[in-house]
C-alpha cells in the first residue's frame, strides 16, 4: 500500500487542491457565474474514472528492461499466485481511488460552504430526498452490488489493458484507432436518421459473439494454466450470479415494458453481463504473460 498507495493518495489530494484553486480562480474572474456547482458536479462524477485510469497504470509497476516491459523481478519472484497479485493490486487501487474521490468531495463541500450557492445545493438534496426515499433497501442493495461489481470490473479491465498494451502494442493501437473512427461515424449516423442501422446491428451481434467467446476462451485458458484457484471459483461465480440477477432486476424496474429493444442490442446487453467473468480470468492471465514470459 505504501509503495503505490502513498503517492497515489498524494496525487489525489493534489488533484483536489488543484480543482479547488482552479474553480476559485475562475470564479474570482467572474467566468463561472452560477456554474461552479455544476462544474463541481462534473468533477465529482468524472474524477473516480480519471483516478482509476491513472492509478491502474501506476500500480502495475511495469519496468522497461533490455527493451522489454515487464514486472519487477522482486514482484515476480514473490511466493504468490497471479490471482493473488491481481487481487492485492485491485484492493490497493480501489481503496486509493475511493479515498482520492473523498478528497475531491471534501474540496467540493468546502468550496460550496465558503463561496458556492450552499442553499441551492441543500435545496436540490431536499428535492431528491423523496425520490430516493421511495427506493427500498433491497433495491439499494441491488444498485450497490451492480455499481461495485462494475467498478471492480472496470478497474480489472484497465489493469489488464495496461498489462496487455506492452505485449501487443500494434493490436492495442489498431483497436484504439478503430474506436476513434467509430465515434464520429456514430455521431454522423445519428444525425442522418440511423441510415447505417444494419451496420450497427451486425456490429452488436459480432460484439455479443466476441464477448461470449472471450468469456469461454479466457476461462478455459485460465483454468488450464491454473491461474484460477478452485476455492475462489465458487465465490466468484456466486457474486457474479447475484450481480446478474441484480442487474436484470434493475433493468426490468427502470426500463418501461413498452420500450422495444432490438434483438442485437439485447444480445449485446446480455453478453455484457459476462464482463466481470472476463475480468476475473483475463487479469491473472495477462499478469501471468508478464511474469512467465
Amino acid at each position: 500500500m505504501r509503495r503505490s498507495g502513498a503517492p497515489l493518495l498524494l496525487s489525489g489530494l493534489g488533484a483536489a487542491v488543484l480543482a479547488f484553486l482552479g474553480i476559485f480562480v475562475l470564479n474570482a474572474q467572474g467566468d463561472l457565474a452560477g456554474k461552479a456547482t455544476a462544474l463541481w458536479g462534473i468533477v465529482l462524477v468524472t474524477s473516480p474514472f480519471a483516478f482509476l485510469l491513472i492509478g491502474a497504470e501506476w500500480l502495475l509497476g511495469l519496468r522497461r528492461k533490455q527493451g522489454a516491459v515487464s514486472l519487477s523481478t522482486f514482484d515476480a519472484t514473490q511466493a504468490m499466485d497471479n490471482g493473488g497479485l491481481v487481487f492485492i493490486k485491485l484492493v490497493v487501487l480501489t481503496t486509493c481511488v475511493l479515498l482520492s474521490w473523498l478528497f475531491m468531495a471534501s474540496a467540493a463541500a468546502v468550496w460550496t460552504m465558503l463561496w458556492g450557492d450552499y442553499h441551492q445545493v441543500t435545496q436540490a438534496v431536499w428535492e431528491f430526498q423523496p425520490v430516493l426515499a421511495k427506493v427500498s433497501l433491497p433495491w439499494w442493495a441491488c444498485i450497490g452490488l451492480v455499481l461495485i461489481v462494475n467498478y471492480l470490473t472496470a478497474a480489472a479491465m484497465l489493469m489488464s489493458g495496461g498489462l496487455f498494451a506492452p505485449l501487443r502494442p500494434k493490436l492495442m493501437g489498431t483497436v484504439f484507432a478503430a474506436g476513434l473512427i467509430y465515434f464520429p461515424l456514430s455521431v454522423w449516423d445519428a444525425k442522418h436518421g440511423w441510415m447505417l442501422k444494419p451496420f450497427w446491428d451486425a456490429h452488436a451481434w459480432a460484439m455479443a459473439a466476441a464477448l461470449a467467446a472471450a468469456t469461454f476462451l479466457s476461462w478455459r485458458k485460465a483454468l488450464h494454466e491454473g491461474y484460477l484457484r478452485r476455492s475462489h471459483l465458487f465465490t466468484s461465480l456466486c457474486i457474479w450470479l447475484a450481480y446478474t440477477c441484480a442487474a436484470v432486476a434493475l433493468y426490468l424496474r427502470v426500463i418501461p415494458t413498452n420500450v422495444s429493444i432490438p434483438f442485437s442490442v439485447a444480445a449485446l446487453g446480455l453478453s455484457s453481463l459476462s464482463l466481470p467473468l472476463v475480468a476475473i480470468a483475463v487479469a491473472p492471465l495477462v499478469l501471468g504473460a508478464h511474469r512467465h514470459r
Binding site: 509503495r3 523481478t73 522482486f74 511466493a79 499466485d81 512467465h292
Partner: protein
C-alpha cells in the same frame, strides 16, 4: 521422489535472433553447491530465470522440487531464496520493512538468523534501500533470500560489484547456510575463484550451451591427469567436443587442452 532439486531438460530459448539457451540440460542434486560458470551473456541468468519460472520453457521442461515453476509458482517460490543480479529490491522500503515483507511470504522465516546476519553485515535496519550501496543491497538481498532457510538458494552473480570483504562475507554466509542445513545452492558466477571456493558441482555454460559439467573433484582429477602429461579426457557425462574444449580453454585463458581444473592453481582471472 527425484533426487534432484532442479531438473532442466532440453530447454532452448531464443530472443529475437539471439539463441540464449541451446538444448540445455541441467541437474542439481540435493544438498550440494552447484556453480554455474560462464562469461557474461553465456545464458546463466536466462537459465536461472527458467528455474524461477520468470521465463516459460518454450521447448523442453523445467522441474524444481519435481514441479513446474510456472504452473506452481507459490509452491516452488516459497521454497526458494533468490538473489537477483540486478539487486532488484523496492527502493522505498527500509531494511526492516523489507524483512517484514519477505517474512510474510515465508512461514519458516527465522528472525533470529536475519538479525544475526544484519549485525554481521553491519546493516542499519532503519536505512532505506535507496540509500544503500550496491554491496549493501547485495547483503540485504542475501539476508532476505536465506533467512527463511530455503530448500534451494538461487544466487545470480552474488558477488557482482562487491568488494573483496563483502564478497568474502557473502560467500561465508552461503557456505554457512548450506553447511548448517544441508540445503541446495545454485549460483552463477564469472569468477573462477568463487566457483572453486564454493562449488561441489560445476556447470560451464557458453553461448547458451552446457559445455562442461561435473563435480569439483572431477575437475581436480582432470587437472591431475593433465599434469601427468595426458590430454584432458572427455569422460564427463556431457561429451565435449574438442572445438568446445578449445573455446572453453580460451575463455578461461589457459592453454588449450592442458588446464581445465580450478583446483591447485587458483586463477584470479575473470572470465570477461
Amino acid at each position: 521422489m527425484s533426487q534432484h532439486v532442479i531438473e532442466v531438460t532440453h530447454v532452448s530459448r531464443r530472443f529475437g535472433s539471439t539463441l540464449a539457451l541451446d538444448d540445455v540440460r541441467l541437474e542439481t542434486p540435493r544438498a550440494c553447491v552447484h556453480g554455474l560458470v560462464g562469461v557474461n551473456g553465456a545464458g546463466k541468468t536466462t537459465l536461472i530465470k527458467h528455474i524461477l519460472g520468470l521465463l516459460k520453457a518454450k521447448t523442453g521442461t523445467v522441474r524444481v522440487f519435481g514441479m513446474d515453476p510456472v504452473r506452481h509458482p507459490v509452491d516452488v517460490l516459497r521454497r526458494i531464496g533468490y538473489l537477483s543480479e540486478e539487486r532488484d529490491l523496492p527502493e522505498w522500503m527500509r531494511i526492516r520493512e523489507l524483512m517484514w515483507y519477505t517474512q510474510a511470504y515465508h512461514p519458516n522465516w527465522d528472525p533470529a538468523y536475519a538479525d544475526e546476519l544484519l549485525k554481521r553485515f553491519g546493516l542499519d535496519p532503519s536505512k532505506k534501500v535507496k540509500d544503500l550501496s550496491k554491496g549493501m543491497r547485495a547483503q540485504v538481498g542475501l539476508i532476505a533470500a536465506v533467512a527463511h532457510r530455503p530448500d534451494l538458494l538461487l544466487l545470480d552473480e552474488p558477488s557482482s560489484g562487491l568488494d573483496a570483504v563483502a564478497r568474502r562475507d557473502i560467500l561465508n554466509a552461503i557456505v554457512r547456510t548450506v553447511a548448517d542445513d544441508e540445503r541446495t545452492v545454485l549460483f552463477s558466477s564469472h569468477l573462477l575463484e568463487e566457483v572453486e571456493q564454493l562449488s561441489d558441482y560445476v556447470t560451464m555454460v557458453h553461448e547458451g550451451r552446457v559445455v562442461l559439467e561435473g563435480t569439483l573433484d572431477e575437475f581436480c582429477w582432470q587437472h591431475r591427469r593433465n599434469h601427468a602429461g595426458r590430454r584432458p579426457s572427455t569422460s564427463w557425462r556431457t561429451v565435449v567436443d574438442q572445438a568446445t574444449e578449445r573455446r572453453a580453454c580460451r575463455l578461461v585463458g589457459w592453454p588449450a587442452q592442458t588446464e581445465w581444473a580450478f583446483c591447485n592453481t587458483p586463477p584470479s582471472s575473470v572470465l570477461v
